[in-house]
């Protein structure tokens, strides 16, 4: 039952976005998120929406697949819409029923804020959909590299992340096995009150933790046996290299920033 969970969302491919350097993708997202918060009228939102659609095309993934990333946040979006429609006041009154009103600014804010959320989610999913977890970790390690000088253990953090990624499927399999073993002993994970069900998770969590610690110990030994001695003097198999794609993204970022800055109210 747990085998079908994909690690991250990465879909392998060779599109423009797949091949762009993870560092430039990460930086671009930071820029894009800032711009989304700066947009405040229909024109600037239209530009951002058009741009996001274009980015979606560049990933060569199906639109439906990209939009699926909105699934976990749709409740939040609906909630935001409802809240803004009913609570934000100002401008023309569209609808009135007793003290209850729907006003122009409320509708406008509802639309803007829901698009803001949606755009942020979609653009960051485009990153995780087109970048393998390993590349992402590597990009982060390089981007954070300068902070190593002020004592941030950047290499260790990146190594921890990549080991975590490596062990997710292993621990998933393990969880599956433990669930089956406990079910065979009569444990019931599917019925009872919420509290009862939460309590029933304890016999899964404890063996899982014990085995995770054992694995960690084994792995540390295996790493030492293969000459691991921290980040100093270490080389990397994957070399990140900027290409024309990254230059293109930089140009697009600058143009987008100028456009938003010019057209925002």
């Amino acid at each position: 039952m747990l085998q079908n969970i994909a690690i991250g969302q990465y879909v392998p491919g060779h599109s423009f976005l797949h091949r762009a350097d993870p560092r430039s993708k990460l930086l671009f997202i930071i820029l894009f998120a800032t711009l989304v918060f700066l947009a405040n009228n229909a024109l600037t939102y239209a530009v951002l929406i058009a741009f996001t659609l274009y980015a979606g095309l560049l990933s060569r993934l199906s639109l439906g697949y990209i939009l699926k990333s909105l699934k976990p946040v749709w409740i939040l979006i609906v909630f935001t819409i409802v809240l803004h429609i009913f609570m934000t006041k100002g401008g023309t009154v569209y609808f009135q029923w007793g003290w209850f009103t729907v006003e122009e600014r409320g509708v406008q804010q509802a639309i803007f804020i829901s698009f803001r959320l949606g755009l942020l989610v979609i653009i960051s999913s485009l990153l995780t959909l087109t970048t393998s977890p390993i590349d992402l970790t590597e990009g982060l390690e390089r981007l954070l590299g300068p902070f190593a000088r002020i004592g941030v253990p950047v290499h260790d953090i990146a190594l921890m992340m990549s080991i975590a990624i490596r062990f997710i499927p292993t621990l998933m399999e393990e969880t599956d096995k433990i669930i089956k073993a406990q079910t065979a002993r009569g444990a019931n994970f599917t019925s009872g009150s919420l509290i009862k069900r939460a309590q029933n998770l304890i016999p899964i969590a404890i063996p899982l933790f014990v085995s995770a610690f054992r694995r960690a110990e084994d792995l540390a030994l295996a790493m030492e046996a293969r000459g691991y001695r921290g980040g100093v003097g270490r080389t990397r198999l994957h070399k990140l290299a900027f290409s024309w794609r990254d230059a293109g993204m930089a140009v697009a970022g600058v143009l987008l920033a100028i456009t938003i800055g010019w057209w925002r109210a």
Partner: protein
């Protein structure tokens, strides 16, 4: 010390801290020399000290008494430890818990990255190492999609990429199915024969020892017996006394001998079958 000896344990002892502060002596004055290019099996029970011995051989543990020499380097001298670990690769029991990389190529690269090998050269050494274990088609595979035997082969590739002189298998076949075990044993035999890699196979399966040049039997922290498989397995009673089994063919011959049927000493099952058939025909 013989010039050809690659690994030498000289009067090595080691103890763990047991519960309530007592010392548990796991190795007692062990003397052992491993020749370059040989295939050595170390047999013994859990707690016989065989795994501790393996960890002493690549400086994961340091001896309390005596010396461990790897290609002339003393493991107790800290500055040589990385060179020693490059020389002596180790494959552990649990295939899942020794793979660091999220893909096969990343895992094989791990040791090379630690050594600071140039990325261009790394690529070539990874390809060579994966080819030597027959896993070149799995370069980008995720480790959890591989079988147990395949995972161990990847672990061996990770060591081969570091160009070692010795590979120690620390119960590396214990968690594998029969097919995976065959895969791994076949592979190390080939590496021993074709690439001249010295193999030390630590195991509690006596049947794995019949292909080796030498067998070392450990019991209670001491070397109980040492010799060719024929020499060691001929002493069935002595092995039984310490609770160790013998290879299948040897056991059957021993049982037949006790029933008055004498057959020549053999290690391999096929040879035994041949002798039994011949006996039946000549009767």
């Amino acid at each position: 010390m013989n010039e050809e000896s690659l690994l030498a344990l000289q009067d090595v002892s080691y103890s763990y801290d047991g519960e309530n502060g007592s010392h548990v002596l796991v190795l007692k004055d062990v003397d052992l020399t491993i020749q370059k290019g040989s295939f050595v099996s170390v047999l013994g029970h859990n707690g016989s000290g065989k795994s501790t011995m393996a960890k002493l051989m690549n400086a994961l543990l340091l001896p309390e008494g005596g010396r461990v020499l790897v290609a002339g380097m003393d493991t107790a001298k800290g500055e040589m430890v990385w060179e020693i670990r490059r020389h002596v690769g180790m494959v552990f029991q649990n295939p899942d818990n020794q793979i660091v990389g999220a893909t096969v190529e990343d895992d094989v690269a791990f040791g090379l990255e630690n050594m600071g090998v140039d990325p261009e050269q790394m690529r070539q050494r990874i390809d060579e190492a994966l080819a030597s274990v027959g896993m070149e088609a799995y370069l980008l595979a995720q480790p959890h999609r591989l079988s147990g035997g395949q995972k161990q082969r990847v672990a061996i590739a990770g060591i081969m990429a570091m160009r070692p002189s010795v590979i120690i298998l620390d119960e590396a076949t214990a968690m594998l199915d029969p097919q995976g075990r065959q895969e791994v044993l076949q592979l190390v035999k080939t590496l021993n024969r074709d690439e001249g890699i010295t193999i030390i196979n630590i195991t509690h399966f006596p049947d794995e020892a019949i292909y080796s040049d030498r067998v070392v039997v450990m019991n209670a922290g001491e070397v109980l017996m040492e010799g060719t498989p024929e020499e060691v397995f001929n002493q069935v009673e002595r092995l039984k006394k310490v609770g160790l089994d013998v290879p299948f063919a040897v056991r059957i011959r021993h049982v037949l001998a006790s029933k008055g049927i004498d057959l020549p000493f053999v290690l391999h099952q096929e040879e035994l079958v041949e002798h039994v058939c011949r006996l039946l025909l000549t009767r």
